[in-house]
Every structure is written in C-alpha cells, then in structure tokens.
C-alpha cells in the first residue's frame, strides 16, 4: 500500500437562496437548508474517503487540498446546475473550475452531459444532494501529487410545479483534477453520465461523456 490513507470528512452544506427570477445568495455553512419566501435551494456536498497512491515516494492529499477540491465541485454545481435551473438561462463561465484543455469539450460536444441548461426555470424547492466525494490522489515517480480523482454522484430534484412531475436529474461519474499554474485544482478530465426526467421533459434522457484525454 502506497501512501497514507487519510479519512477526511468535510461537511460543506450550502444553502443558497434564489428567488424566482433572481435574488439573494446566502450560506449558512452549517448544513440544512435556508428557507425563503419563494423557494429553497439546498446543496449538500461533502468529502468522503480521501486516499492516495504513488508511482514513487508516498504522497498524501492534505485537508487543504481536499477542501479545495470540494470547493471546486461546489462551484461547478452552482454554475452548471443551480444557476441555470433557477434562471432558465444558459450556464455561466466554467473556466474558473475547468482547465483549458478540458474546457473546449465542456463548452462544446460534452456540454449536455455536464451542464443542466436548456431546461425550464425551476421556481420550486431545489435539492442538490451529492454523495460523499471520494478523493484519490496520484503521486508521480518523484513523490509529487500530480492529479487526483473525485467521484461525482449527484441527485437533483425540484418540487413539482403545477401538474408536471418533479424534475429529477442524476449525474454520476468522476472528475480528474490537476493543479493549474497558480496551484488551483481544476477539472482536467471527466467521465460523466446524466439522466433527466420529470419536469416538463417529455421522456427520460440519458447523456454520457468522457474527455478525450490524449496526453499533453
């Protein structure tokens, strides 16, 4: 066994409040939801098991790095899921969380698998619940932490509006994250599948994508 296994559990529960058509964001940072007069948006995200393996000397994934990974995934969920569902508008800029090489497919052919846009605006309660994110670090032959994977298993539900069935989105896969030049951990590759049904969708849709990952 290479590398010390570190179990880190970080509860990062962000309650974001968005009124239909825009609104005010807030975070309680302590879990649970934030009630608002219009609707609640509850994002539950936490780190699960954090481990590492190495081609050289042992490496570990520090708590700071694990926290950073969770922050990155949280930002991704906000930009890719929460904001477009709340606004009914296209998702915003993913460049802060996705690195240059992966940004092109994320912005192009793989976008339907990674971004919940093009769907009707959700004005009821919205729950974004991620299973604990398993993080596995990879060390190179010199013992430098050069990449890590983070599992993504997110269940998204929106309360029914009118006669429509509740919107239900399940996204499953993983991100590969690597440090950029500034040391920020960004998504450099991914394998992701998404299933959407309910809401105003006529039928269940399933989309999958994986980065073409030729080495640089």
């Amino acid at each position: 066994m290479i590398g010390a296994a570190v179990l880190v559990v970080i509860a990062v529960v962000v309650g974001v409040v968005l009124f239909a058509g825009g609104g005010d964001d807030s975070s309680d940072g302590g879990g649970g939801s934030t009630a608002t007069p219009g609707a609640d948006t509850n994002v539950t995200l936490e780190a699960g098991e954090v481990t590492a393996d190495s081609a050289g000397p042992p490496v570990t994934v520090s708590q700071d790095i694990a926290d950073g990974v969770i922050d990155t995934i949280g930002d991704y969920l906000q930009v890719a899921t929460v904001a477009p569902l709340r606004s009914g508008e296209p998702a915003g800029d993913l460049a802060p969380v996705v690195d240059g090489a992966a940004l092109a497919p994320v912005s192009g052919v793989d976008r339907p698998a990674l971004v919940d846009e093009g769907l009707p605006k959700v004005s009821t309660d919205l729950d974004v619940v991620a299973q604990p994110v398993a993080i596995t670090g990879l060390g190179d032959q010199e013992g430098n932490l050069v990449a890590l994977t983070a599992t993504i298993n997110v269940d998204i539900t929106a309360a029914a509006e009118g006669k429509a069935k509740p919107l239900h989105i399940v996204r499953t896969g993983y991100f590969v994250l690597s440090p950029d030049a500034a040391g920020a951990w960004k998504v450099s590759a991914y394998k992701m599948g998404v299933t959407r049904d309910g809401g105003t969708l006529d039928a269940t849709t399933t989309t999958a994508a994986a980065t073409p990952a030729a080495p640089k």
């Binding site: 090489a101 398993a134 596995t136 190179d140 990449a147 590969v176 073409p212 030729a214 080495p215 640089k216």
Partner: protein, 319 residues
Amino acid sequence: MTSLTSARTRRRTLVTVVLAPIACGLLVAGTLAAAWVAIGSPTPASGAVWFQVSKLAGAQYTGAPDQPFFALVIGTGARSDDPNEAHDDPGLADAIHVIGINPSLGSATILDIPRDTEGPTGAKLNSYIVGSDKNFGLRAEADAVSAVTGLPISYVIRANFPNFVQMVDEIGGIDVEIPYDMADENSGAFFTAGPNHLTGDQALALSRNRYTLPRGDLDRTVNQGLVLLSALKTLQAKQPGAGDTIRLVATAGRHVKLDGLGVRDLLALGQLALSVDANNVKNVLLPVANSGNGSNLAKTADAESLLADMADDGVLQSH
C-alpha cells in the same frame, strides 16, 4: 549447455513476440485498474521495469487533446530496459505494432507490421532499434516505421520481457476469442477455437505460435494484435472506477521507465483507453509480399490505400 542456451534463447524469442500486445494492452489500453479491482493489488518484484514509454520530440497535443495520434509498440528480446546496455543481447524489435487512436471518435486501429518488412535503408524493420549510434535506437525504429507506413509516431512503448508472464498472471489472465484450433509443440499453443481464458504462459504460447499457421509469422503478428485487443476487452469489462484507475496507474508508474512524459500522462492514457470502445477497434495486418531482397517483405499496393485510410484520422473506416 547448448540445450540450455537454446532453451533460453527460444524463451527469450517467445517472450519477445508477445510483449508488445500485452504492454500495449496494459498501458495504452491502460486499464490495469480493472485487474486491481478483480484480483487485488498486484505485487510484482520491487523495481522491476515492465516497459518503457518514450514521447518523441514531435509529439505536441497541448490544446488539442481530441486529435488522433499514433503510438508504436515494440517487443524486443533485450534483458535490459535500455537496449544500449545489452550489445550481446540485441533485442531485435520482433513485435511491431502501430496503434492509431482517435480520442474524439473513441476508436482505435491496431496495425500489425511483420518484423521482416523492409525498412528505408533496406534492413528489416526489426533491426533499427539495435545499436548505439544515432542511426539506431527507439527514435530510429520509430522513424523507420514512419517511413514505411507514413504514420507519424508520437509515442514509443517498448516492453521489457522478464516480468511478462508474471504480469499477465497478476492481472488474472486475459480472455481471448481464438479464431481456430491450434496444436503446436514448438510454442506450446494448444487451443480450441472459441473463447479461452489465458494465463501468462498461454498468452505467450498464442503469441509465439507460427509454425502451424497458414501464413506463419504474418498470422502470428495478427494474433499478437488479437492478444492486445483481447487484453483491452478483458480489462474494460472489469469497469474500473476512478480510484481504481489511480491505483493501477500508480502501480504501472512504479514499473515503467518514462522518457519525455510523466505519470500524469499515464493517467491520461488510461482514461483514454477506458473511453475507447474495444468493439470498435480494428486489428489489421499491413499487406506485404516478398520484396525480392532476400527474405525481406515489402508493402503491397493494397497497403497504400489502407495506410492512407489510417493516416487521415488514426483509424480505419473503409478497410
């Protein structure tokens, strides 16, 4: 003594011909991670070098990770991982395969090149790797293969044989759909056509058998490609998860000599392998015929259109 030497030489040769498919199956195919899931952590000899991966100077993919590229996979009989350190053990490249990979299509093609194919200087293609001056070595071998095929080689994967059988066994063997019955005393290849689960020794036997095959070494070369593709299918069937992939890339990283690329690139290769549909990978022999120069072979007219088909996007469509 003679018998012992002969046996050793024969075994070395045998191992040689199977190395490329397996090395490629385990690296370019990359899905070692699956085996980890299936059988637990392999425990190869500490420090053993399974294979070498070299990135050639011309390989540039930054900003275009979806572009097709070509990797040369060679198997040699050298005992050392550095052919220049084994002049008495030349390590001819007796297994030669070019793998074209198209990431955006999720597809690949394995081009099996007979070892006796004539290179640009008139020598057999298997000989350009041998020697220590600038006209030999991995770069020269890649250049020679490129000259014959017209395919730009970006990566060279050279397998080191001593741990081959162990390596195959440690990943739990491979499932191969053997195309016809085989019964060959020389190689030990005794198989019934159909699905077979092969141990390391059996995979070696399949890959070395040529005496009982209609086209001899040509069919053997194709069977090496079959082993490669079967390794990919076997490992993909295990459906490794993200963490499994990391752990197996780390394992591979402890047993690979890297030249011009890093462990992070290995991870990318592994992910790429997982994204390739093994059922959409063609395994094709380079069409060749006698060249008129001794036992050398030369590509035929049919080869030109095949190579053009492969060159445009890394994979074959009309062949």
